[in-house]
Amino acid sequence: MTVLEEPTAEVEHGESVAPRPVRSVPVPGDRAFLGLSRAGGTAVLVVFSAIGLFLAIRGAQAIAEAKLSFFTTQAWEPDTHHFGIAGVLTGTVLIALVAVTISLPIALGLSLFISEIAPAKIRRTLISMVDLMAAVPSVVYGLWGLFFLQGHALSVSRWISTWFGWIPIFHVAGAQPTNPLASASVYSASTFIVGLVVSLMVIPIQCSIMRESFSQAPAGEREGAYALGATRWGMIRSVVLPFGRGGIIGGTMLGLGRALGETIAVILIISPIYRINLHILGSGGQSVSALIALLQGDSSGFGISALMAAGLTLFALTLVVNLTASAIVARSRSGAESEV
């Protein structure tokens, strides 16, 4: 067991006595048990670092060939050695940003609703519905986005681009807002629609992290706020939200990490292009993961190496985002390490 330190006992005439050293010597069974569990923990670390390592080894050839132009070229033609992820990476980040912008208010409201407003009786059901939302296969979300949402979202796209088209990212090339017979296809297959679908996939992740941190707001402070005359919203604003700030930031970033890597829905909905397209409402875009999934089957040799390099970039990006997020969440949850 852990080393126990006895508090320095005060003897009656004021002299302090040195603590008796207590040391634990694990029995053989315990030594094996701790060794096994440590091996398990190490194995997990090894597997996850191997991901980065192998992607780097396989992608080295392409990176050595393209050098820094890998990050600035807006094309993907590895056979003529003219390739880079500038356009694709921008597309990935744009999709993720759109998704998080839409999902953040909904996830925040949903998690506050579950942890503060919903009656305790239905809370468990709501939580498992959120879990279900996370477990709905992404191909199902993709199908829904392609066959159902796209048709309904086009009018929203048209409305935004008509009234806010003067903001560069909402501008749509070839849109004819004054022509009632104009085809809506300039708005389809866009970053915005993919972002809408992906936002549904990240809501549950963000929500569960936020809800967990909200539920750890101490009861004493809650009751204190009520005792001072706060309404429920006053209590939420002065107690729950400050205590949950780490969870909100961390959960949002974990959602961002998840949104950066979505594959299937992107392939199904977006029409792939490899240059930078900042007009999120207009047709065309691409993400790194969709690029890998689309081209892996027909590539060989150098093409695969280029894809591995793209994968490595995605890995590094999501790792940075996710590690920052989980560090923030872990710091906000520091109380959970102590036992009751």
Binding site: G41, G109, L143, H152, V340
Partner: protein, 405 residues
């Protein structure tokens, strides 16, 4: 809270003259009666919808359904604030309006979920009702074949193989890693926890790309069900570790301390106290991990290849799983293929829903809660113990001290 009474203090308290108790006050009403709140809400809803109907139907040339909802919602909020302000002050109005806003965020999320599930089941129904959908593969069915020919039996078999192998790999490793996180509170274990948490949001395609880079390109194996299972394992492992870690953290510390105080070594505490207490939670963790893994198409896309033929050997030849089959089918321009794709997705969704119902039944109660069966099992065991003690007591009337270990 328990009040400890010491002999000295009791006497002091008793010595004081009794305070005359204040006259009983009526209990304060903290919020409005339910009925009034309901009236406020209903009235505001009616106001919102009517104003939007008036605007969109009569007064202005608006048409978009989305705009209708936005206008109706805005008017609803205004009307609700107005109604509440008739009988409450500004603070209470703010509270009421924000409560409604938060609830509507939840409403949006859950109705999106219902729409997704409902739409998929509705579109998939036409092909799901054909029995051959579950028993045939797609090798004999062309793009124009009717729904009464061809099916996804090969994808079913592939899903069973890949998820089965993945579970065999991830459950032991995931549990051991979760136990590691539970047992050690050191710097390395915090690193592992952060990495695991970060990996739960790892792009699933990278799990596939990793297995492709190692298993297929470096070790030279062919694309197969096993490779897909490896990719799924890499993807599922962090989920299982994270959820099991959360479950183990919920075990009350005094159970472990009681076990340690009885002299049990750590592995016995884990095996006989912590794991049995957490059993339902751990089962839920595994089931939820399965639900995640079973629906993931992108790792399988890179590692399993694609086939329309039945292949029951996970070691050789391409294999296909249900989500991948759905993904490939809906990319066809033929309506029948799209219908099959939807049916595939709907079937997958039903599997996930079933897994969730099972998880709910298994994990429907907190740690330490006993089902009737486990309670009677414990009762039987302690009855046996009493008999054993009685026998031991008859043989040896002195108190047993040495062989309690």
């Amino acid at each position: 809270m328990t009040l400890l009474q010491f002999p000295g203090t009791t006497r002091q308290v008793n010595a004081q003259p009794p305070v005359p108790s204040p006259p009983p006050q009526p209990r304060r009403r903290r919020r409005l009666p339910r009925r009034d709140a309901m009236f406020d809400l209903t009235g505001a809803v009616i106001a919102g919808v009517s104003v939007a109907l008036l605007l969109f139907g009569r007064l202005a040339p608006f048409s978009a359904p989305f705009g209708f909802v936005v206008v109706a919602y805005a008017v609803f909020l205004l009307a609700y604030a107005l109604l509440v302000s008739l009988h409450d002050d500004a603070t209470a109005v703010k509270d009421a309006v924000i409560t409604v806003v938060l609830s509507s965020a939840a409403l949006v999320a859950f109705s999106a979920l219902l729409l997704v599930v409902g739409f998929t089941l509705w579109r998939g129904w036409h092909a799901l009702v054909h029995l051959n959908f579950y028993t045939h593969d797609m090798s004999q069915a062309g793009p124009l074949s009717p729904l009464s020919a061809g099916g996804v039996a090969h994808a079913l078999v592939g899903t069973l193989w890949t998820i089965g192998i993945a579970l065999v790999l991830t459950v032991p490793l995931g549990l051991v890693a979760a136990i590691y996180l539970d047992q050690t509170r050191s710097r390395p274990s915090r690193v592992v926890r952060s990495v695991v948490e970060a990996m739960t949001a790892l792009p699933t395609i990278l799990a596939g790309l990793f297995v492709y880079a190692t298993w297929i390109l470096t070790f030279g194996f062919e694309k197969s069900g096993l490779a897909a299972a490896l990719a799924l394992s890499v993807m599922m492992l962090p989920y299982i570790i994270r959820t099991s870690d959360l479950v183990l953290r919920l075990i009350p510390g005094n159970l472990r301390e009681a076990s340690a105080a009885l002299g049990a070594p750590r592995w016995r505490t884990m095996w006989h106290v912590v794991l049995p207490t957490a059993r339902s939670g751990l089962a839920t963790a595994v089931i939820l991990g399965t639900a995640r893994g079973i629906g993931e198409a992108s790792p399988v896309l890179l590692t399993a290849g694609f086939t329309t033929y039945m292949n029951a050997d996970p070691l050789r030849g391409p294999m296909v799983s249900l989500p991948l089959e759905a993904f490939k089918l809906v990319q066809s321009p033929e309506p029948n293929m799209v219908a099959r794709g939807f049916a595939c997705a709907a079937f997958l969704l039903l599997v996930v829903l079933t897994l969730f119902v099972i998880a709910r039944i298994v994990g429907g109660h907190g740690p330490g809660h006993l089902t009737r069966r486990s309670a009677s099992r414990i009762a039987r065991a302690s009855k046996r113990d009493i008999e054993r003690f009685a026998r031991a007591g008859a043989d040896r009337p002195s108190i047993v001290t040495e062989d309690t270990a």
